[in-house]
Point group: D2
């Protein structure tokens, strides 16, 4: 399979189309764009058959991308609007898998002590859990309230345990009907860092985007549907340079400085070669924007309100 | 059972002796004191039979209290010495339950966002876990290295799930041979806050000390031995006032101001009545010293180095 | 002077009245209560002459206390209402001292690393400063915008410099017309911790309430008016015990257990004697409620919105 | 002047030599390298005359660069060694400007709430200040102890006040003999982020490296010598891409894919053009490595121990 170096289905679709010189839609992939306002855009990519699966290396299902422009300076209003959009889309997905009272377990992946990786645990702290109230103080909740529980299981490097092992144990013990997983993703573009949310109903592979593939968290491993909320928070230097290089060469060519060699350079994907050039110099770090603290803070509000609004 | 309002076996033993006017040792309770240096004291209380169990309301087993004086201004040296004492005692307990390679799961209870309750999760971040390295990169560890994993499961109010439910699921899935649980305790005396460690091999009931009894974490519920490392971090105002009142009346009597009524006041336990007097005024808060941040920071070092040294 | 052990003028007035058996108003002290809603109460104490000054040991001026009940579980609405009340009262005080465009320097006292002492620096981070924009990018602000700057100077133990020395230097260099100081206070009652705001136009003495008197921050030392926003965040154990003792004895007497000795105990102030009884046992700590993290977080919102709204 | 896009004198010297095709030393610039061990390297660059000043755009004086390899996984030992190196070099500089008892003010620039910018304030919290003890409790310090004070003045965006205005006020009020300033720098190479310390005795211009030039902090503005401890913590995407591009083209040429056009591309500095290509796409962010939290934590230890050891 092609190395997309992004977990976002919409970016993969674009890369596939460019690489395969497809002009129209790809067989097995449907998509639809929507502009909520000048700052918020929603794009849905649906993979409908095996051809679509193969094309972009993602399982059949729904992938919804919500982009929030200028999140680092977003105000209360914009954050609220973005969380409502997330809430609406999430509700649709939940309703297609479980009934209104179906118990949900919300899982926040990541490491609270590593800022770009701390979104998941921070969201968990804001989730309105009801499971213990329904169990011990049912008189304090309206009848028909959905059971919600939440957990931040930590990361393999800190726990020594695969996340899916932890979750499997908990799911088998408390029997929720669906799991929502919040996860940091890799994206191709640094301007998407912590300003894009991808919602999908196909589960996830933790760390897939940044090279450390680990066991999948999905209906296959947990036995119940897994809805993933993925947010790009880091980008690999080689990816950044590769894409910047394209922008740079494009600019050189616009200025009529083009030549055959540059043309070829641009058409090829130079990621592997750039990576090889950078690694000996310790240059191929995973990077994050300087403003990552406030980006994570704002994204935490969007995701936690979005989830609370939908449950 | 008497309401001891402390989770420390040595404090309970003292209270029982005072209340029952016992002069010598209680049948079923053995104890032994040791002074490591002018700042560190160790006391072992062993409950050997049912009479001892009944007397102080704790199951048969070993209870080791390590007191570190002036922890809030402790320097590197003192912290190291305290962690070595903990390490030595913990190693003895581990060796009496599992062999040198027996897999251990370390569990840090508490809420990272509530300073006096954040010790457990903070210690987990410092534990040298080996389970994933032994599983995936065995060439990087010496043969015979013990498998260690670690988890901070969160608190009922945030997760909606009983801690024991989470742990039961994980233990059944990854099969450690022993669990070490780090927990915040209630103590009778505010000067013990975050400067005492109690080590026991009988498991724990989360939150037992402060009135919100929840399911026990022990060999009964998990099926494997549970070693508990408990650290007092909070005290209830009514307890504080009750004990302060004793000190105050004692002083009045020393000054020959005594009278029958005061005498009786002091001999009685006035906790319930003080509590009743304070509650209508919203006075019976759980309190913690102003310096709790640095106390927790220093205690984190002692406990994490103590555990790492023993494993 | 009587040792009030509280920085709140309204508490001092009550203590003075009780001690002096005054029934009506004290000469030189006027006061007025207002109930905003069931959770928010406002009380104004005005010291009008030297007799009032002497009675409660505070300089002539206005002292406004805003009490917010149940702040630790306060929702967005309640926080907004409280900040509006603060805003309105603060605006009145500002208008009586400087004109609409008079430059203001906001100062947040305290130590960011000590949770109960971190309110000041946390508020500073939320203040809408305009001074640099007016100086460098005047086209981005409306004409007539007030110059606002803000600083968190740290504490003597960390800086080695008296706060007033730092502020004097800055004030002499940038020439604001008025200073607003946010400071942690001592209160008599633990239920007031981080749920009361005292506004005054007489400046402050940092740390006055808890025994470590340091140089005053006021028009005398800075040469411009100093408005103080004080929030109780800690309480001394001896104070807590003394007041709890009164509640306890009152309860004993209600139950007809009274006797002369108890009567006298209650009428006297036993603070000094309780303190003497507690100190040898390391019992006289400064304490704070277990929930101090979320109390500070909510109070930060109230104070920062209150200030921003008034400027 | 050439746009070096780095604050490190040693990087500027290299860039100048490459650009000017100088082989030997530049007139007015002396330098000397030293390898402390396999992980720590020290390089001294001394600018001795105006020609040197012009060549690399830095004032006459001493610039000492300490590089610590693999800081993000550095252990206690390595951190200690690095702090000793810093301490030794800093002591030499201090001794050349003030006597053993000359009062020092340590200033930590930066914003505690922005991880890559939080080093300065974090170091300040660890400085052993003595000024207040010498002033109020002289019996507790040895005679001849140097007066040390410390302050974290915040950043222009939060305070609205130029840092130099704040410092000028304090220096004029408390009269130290020398200022040590800790500052975040821009570097050319991402692998230097938070693993290099530059020591200089020529003061600094806050934010100079990343384009937002503000008033200088130096003997000119404060009237006393200013020693700067600068640590690169961020890098601009255009710089990263420009330098990565060189590495990439070099690799292409090694593989005999060279051609005239690439040759020229490499020899030229393409920063401005890359920047122009990236800006319209919101691509020219300031970035920092994913591991910035632990890098800052380790660097805090090195710098604070280094300063404390020298004072």
């Amino acid at each position: 399979m092609y190395n997309f170096r992004t977990d976002l289905a919409s970016e993969r679709r674009d890369i596939y189309k460019q690489a395969s010189k497809e002009k129209g839609e790809i067989d097995g992939i449907e998509s639809e764009k929507q502009e909520i306002d000048e700052n918020i855009k929603v794009e849905k990519v649906i993979i409908t058959n095996e051809n679509g699966e193969k094309a972009i290396g993602k399982p059949k299902g729904n992938y919804i991308t919500i982009d929030v422009k200028n999140l680092k300076i977003a105000q209360e209003d914009e954050i609220n609007k973005a969380s409502e959009v997330l809430s609406t889309e999430l509700k649709k997905i939940l309703d297609s898998h479980i009934d209104k009272q179906g118990e949900v377990l919300v899982v926040g992946l990541g490491n609270i002590y590593v800022t770009p990786d701390s979104l998941g645990p921070k969201v968990i702290n804001e989730i309105d859990v009801t499971r213990h109230i329904i169990n011990y103080l049912p008189q304090y909740v309206e009848e028909g309230t959905r059971m919600v529980s939440a957990i931040a299981p930590g990361v393999l490097g800190t726990t020594g345990i695969e996340t899916v092992e932890i979750l499997k144990g908990i799911v088998d013990n408390i029997h929720p009907k669906l799991v929502i997983v919040i996860d940091a993703l890799a994206s191709r573009s640094i301007e998407r860092i912590s300003s894009t949310v991808q919602l999908s109903d196909t589960g996830i592979v933790p760390g897939a985007g940044v090279g450390n593939t680990r066991s999948e968290i999905s209906i296959k491993t947990l036995g119940i549907p897994v809805v993933a909320i993925g947010i790009p928070t880091v980008v690999e230097t080689a990816v950044l340079v590769n894409d910047s290089l394209d922008l740079f060469i494009e600019k050189l060519q616009d200025e009529a400085k083009s030549n055959d060699y540059l043309n070829r350079l641009r058409e090829e994907d130079n990621y592997e070669e750039i990576k090889e050039a950078l690694i000996p110099k310790d240059y191929n770090l995973i990077v994050t924007p300087k403003e990552i603290d406030s980006l994570i803070e704002n994204m935490k509000e969007i995701v936690s309100r979005g989830i609370n609004g939908s449950l």
